[in-house]
Amino acid sequence: TRTRDSLGGRLRTLFQGRQWDDSLWDQLEEILFEADLGYDTVDYLLTQLREEVRISHPQRADDVMELLRHIMVDLFEKASDPTLLDPQRPSIWLMVGVNGTGKTTTAGKFAYMMKRQGYQVILGAADTFRAAAVEQLQEWGQRAGVDVISQGAGADSAAVAYDTVQAAIARSRDLAIIDTAGRLHNKSNLMQELQKVVRVIRRERPDAPHQVWLVIDATTGQNGLAQAQVFLEAVQVTGIVLTKLDGTAKGGIALSIKRELGVPIRFIGVGEKVEDLMPFDAESYVRAILGD
């Protein structure tokens, strides 16, 4: 049993059925900041909104919220996302991100999701650094019913990645998902190690990796932007998985990342179970931020 965050409820009572007046700007600002959207994005959104309010003179607070909702949803352009799986097989996916965001868990959830869609999947345990990271992924492999390629702790992570790609080819799998160790983006040696993983994969498959998933924890504040920036530059991130949205954090930093860097959010994590992964939906994400 979980109690819901009261922020949403508080806002609804504040705005619902109420006439719009200028005193509500401060409340709006607070909602946006408390969702971790950050200074620049809040400024951008409120500037846009002021312009629209000036033009259309909405009477009710609900109408203003509706305008804001539109502005926010529009930031996620409607164009359908590219397909997940490359026509060339196997597809190679790489999980990247800072420590503890949910990479290994999401790798397991992805394996399960793709297997349920009828694909042959294999996992690669290229986090050879953190204590028991390999065992953790092996357990996820069991839950998803897929093989896990690994070497012992302390092995070269690029070598494990290479093994995984080769195994995927040899066993004619559709998809190989490679988990990597958590690393802070400001550690250049660790970022270089990640680039090496990519280079080694490309030796076998020059067009790989086909997806590089940056896993961002929804509780992350403004640092998420720096994370995305550096990982994007280092390994050409293709999409974001926003995890832990089952908590009270709204994950607003992901909207800022989308707005400022163009990296799309494609999936959300909503729990610790194998099926707790959902496609990202801009409408419900924005509604959650605005407290609906």
Partner: protein, 305 residues
Amino acid sequence: MFDNLTEKLQNTFKRMRNKGRLTEDDVREGLRDVRMALLEADVNFKVVKDFLSRVEQEAIGQDILESLTPAQGVVRIVRDQLTELMGNHVERIKMASNPPTVIYLVGLQGSGKTTSTAKLAKMLKQQGRQPLMVATDIYRPAAVDQLQALGQQIGVPVIYEDGLSPVQLVREGWQRSRQMAKDVILVDTAGRLHIDNALMDELVQMQKEVPAHETLLVVDAMTGQDAVRVAKAFKETLPVTGVILTKLDGDARGGAALSIRAVTDLPIKLIATGEKVDALEAFQPDRMASRILGMGDVLTLIEKA
């Protein structure tokens, strides 16, 4: 982004000075730079509001408007107030007068509990204690393996038995500590959301079985506005005695430290600065204040001036 708050403020004030003498409104205007810096550092929105009204009062009460360097004056007040808010001195882990001391590490998923448990065990061992760790995360895959691997690395025993519940495991840990003559019991717990009533209650039951001397909330330094909600909820449910702030080897400014302190009054007791088992340090409020403002070097200059 605001690597140099003082410079920014200086420019703001210079612009104002051109119109003549600095007024109280100018100070308020100047504090917008500070506000932006604090929000970018992830300090909670409401905490920023309260904090700035204090700073404003202080700044207007003093003669900094007359001074030649009002920007430095304002920044000094901001920094001092920040440091004071975060507690002026280093807070230590309290040891029970009647051992064993029981320390629980609790917090959200992935915040760094297991790693910090091992780090703290190592630190205490180096201080001449005889620690023991209890693995009670029976949920996350390989969580027990993780603690056991770390235990082996640092030479500290890990208590765990298949099939036991977390409540039974802490009891087991307690009994084994007596048999093994250990004087500190460190309990690594499963990550949980503060709104997960069932799992929060599990911690309460564990502490009923084996009461805590210290309950340390482990918080990721990259946490944004949610930090306050999390810390409040944990404190309402458990006798939390302090915070371990982790992943400070990153470049997050760590405003969560200030938010938590301001809202819950919990002291930050330790900071973690790396993945290796010795990356644990005492928390220094003044250094954290500078970090939140993103201006370490500038402050040393002011101190010398």
